[in-house]
């Protein structure tokens, strides 16, 4: 039986998924994300009705449930329905004193684990972590060598066993457990451009080709995501530019026409420098610019910002090269705007946009669309929103236009973000660490992806530059 990890990209890295009767190790330094990844794998299995036994050696079981809750998982309901069992297991329960000798085996924890897994018919057992578990043994070597029995007995139950293990920063050699397991999933933290980034790889995989490359591993409020971390682009045939020199270069010369670019920002990162620089560039090529206005992106603000950056777009405005589709009646305040969301349906939006695209096409002008999706995501129902984005993207491709869609990823659900990412051709993500801003590319149609690079903001166009 093959069990999906619930993370598509990770499944691909381990030859389609976790195999029952196999044992996997998740290795990583402290804080790498071993527990978080285990939680997501647990949740992924539960959602496919696969019962899970989660053994925690570090924290009490209610802490694990709480940890899940911080990522929006309702583990309690799975416990109630008998699909999940979360157990704290430790050599040294609270209030107990120990004297230890070297002559023991682990049949106690083996028997308990077997009983627990048989009770719920678990197909997946998580053991988080062996490091904390072994730390309580005075004769750690004996415990480690006896852990082999644990692995054998549990995987014999036709289950997947995953244990987590803390690795040392400079650990280059394989540890004992690595020889015993069928697969090793490794999370590594590295400092790149002054930003700590995480990478995930699979250095060992039995009966399949291990993946000899590292992928970008991202943990945020929404959970974990895996993306190819850095890939050189293939060269483009028909390309457009974003107008941000280094970005175009990193993307393999530019962006293909028909691209839908998703730009992910947190609520506080200002995306206007990128937006305005691109818009200015496209206008300078005499393209038609359509802007789906909302409370973050509207005509007077855009004109004002251009003035501040000493760039004149008056002629383009006068020639009608910039069109604002004002969905929510811009004269009202932000709060009222939300209430007036019915002014124009999404279908109206799409058809007006398509009409405009056709008008520009008649004038032999290519079209670039800009929009901030955040409000739409919040106002519309999930299905309406996704339909809207899909339809819009379809029209962009069909008419060989370009769309820049901005989204505050903190304001939408993980599922929605995942769907947007699937539809988008290019994903650009902004991040921040203290006062530094970074930009990275998680996906692109040329295959190009790159890790976070430092961003510099200027007062005049180009308002944004990428360093390095």
């Amino acid at each position: 039986m093959i069990i999906s990890t619930g993370i598509n990209e990770l499944d691909k890295m381990i030859d389609g998924g976790l195999r029952t009767s196999y044992c996997y190790a998740i290795k990583g330094t402290a804080g790498a994300g071993k527990t978080v990844l285990s939680l997501f794998i647990t949740h992924g299995a539960l959602q496919k009705d696969i019962p899970v036994l989660f053994i925690s050696t570090e924290v009490e079981s209610d802490k694990i449930v709480e940890y899940g809750k911080s990522f929006g998982m309702d583990l309690q309901s799975f416990i109630k329905s008998g699909q999940l069992s979360v157990e704290k297991m430790t050599l040294k329960p609270q209030g107990v004193n120990l004297v230890q000798t070297e002559r023991f085996d682990l049949s106690g924890i083996i028997a308990r684990t077997k009983a627990k897994l048989q009770k719920i018919n678990a197909k997946l057992v998580i053991f988080d972590s062996i490091t904390a578990f072994f730390a309580e043994f005075q004769y750690e070597k004996t415990a480690r060598s006896n852990f082999m029995d644990f692995i054998r007995e549990i995987t014999n139950e036709d289950t997947v066993l995953i244990f987590t293990a803390e690795s040392q920063v400079a650990e280059e050699y394989a540890t004992l457990e690595e020889f015993l397991v069928d697969g090793v999933i490794k999370i590594r933290t590295e400092l790149k451009n002054n930003q700590l980034i995480k990478k995930i790889s699979v250095p060992k995989l039995r009966s399949a080709q291990p993946t000899h490359f590292e992928n970008r591993f991202i943990i945020d409020k929404k959970g974990v995501t895996i993306f190819r971390s850095e890939h050189p682009p293939i060269s483009l045939i028909e390309e457009e530019k974003t107008g941000i020199g280094r970005l175009d270069e990193l993307l393999g010369g530019g962006i293909p026409t028909g691209s839908v670019i998703l730009i992910e920002v947190d609520g506080e990162t200002n995306y206007f420098p990128l937006f305005l620089t691109s818009m200015y560039h496209h206008l300078s090529e005499n393209k038609g610019v359509i802007i789906h206005s909302n409370v973050h992106m509207y005509s007077s603000k855009i004109v004002e910002e251009f003035k501040r950056s000493k760039s004149d777009i008056t002629s383009h405005l006068n020639e009608g090269n910039v069109v604002f589709i004002d969905k929510y009646n811009r004269s009202v305040t932000a709060v009222e705007a939300r209430e007036m969301s019915q002014l124009m349906t999404t279908d109206d939006m799409i058809s007006v946009t398509v009409e405009l695209m056709e008008a520009f096409a008649q004038a032999k002008q290519k079209v670039v669309l800009f929009g901030d999706l955040t409000d739409d995501a919040n106002i519309l129902s999930e299905s309406d929103f996704l339909r809207y984005f899909a339809l819009q993207s379809f029209n962009i491709k069909e008419r060989r236009a370009i769309a820049y869609s901005f989204i505050n990823f903190n304001a939408i659900s993980r599922e929605i973000l995942a769907r947007l990412r699937t539809t988008a051709d290019i994903i650009i993500r902004f991040s921040r660490v203290e006062y530094n801003h970074y930009i990275e590319c998680l996906k692109s149609s040329t295959g190009a992806t790159f890790l976070p690079k430092i961003v510099k903001f200027n007062d005049t166009v180009p308002l944004i530059e990428i360093i390095g």
């Binding site: 297991m89 430790t90 050599l91 329960p93 209030g95 107990v96 004193n97 120990l98 004297v99 230890q100 000798t101 070297e102 002559r103 023991f104 085996d105 682990l106 049949s107 106690g108 924890i109 028997a111 308990r112 077997k114 009983a115 043994f137 004769y139 415990a143 029995d149």
Partner: protein
Amino acid sequence: MELKVMFFTSPTCGWCPFVEGILKKIIDEVSHLTLEIIDISKEVDKAEEYEIVAIPTIILPNNQRIIGGADEAFIREQLNFFVFMGQS
């Protein structure tokens, strides 16, 4: 006062019969001490209740635990130290 020593054993445990013999011998000598032997392969609920991880585990009346097999001197020493201390 009646005091109980619990001894957790399993069929896989090579040292257990030896330790069990020692425990029986010691406990026979002490009137207020009883011994409960629990084979965790038959009584996994007890293993769960007492959160047993390693075998053998001896639980002394004051919640002190001896993890692993030991010889007579060691076990007597532990019993003297933790159980009889201040009692005799």
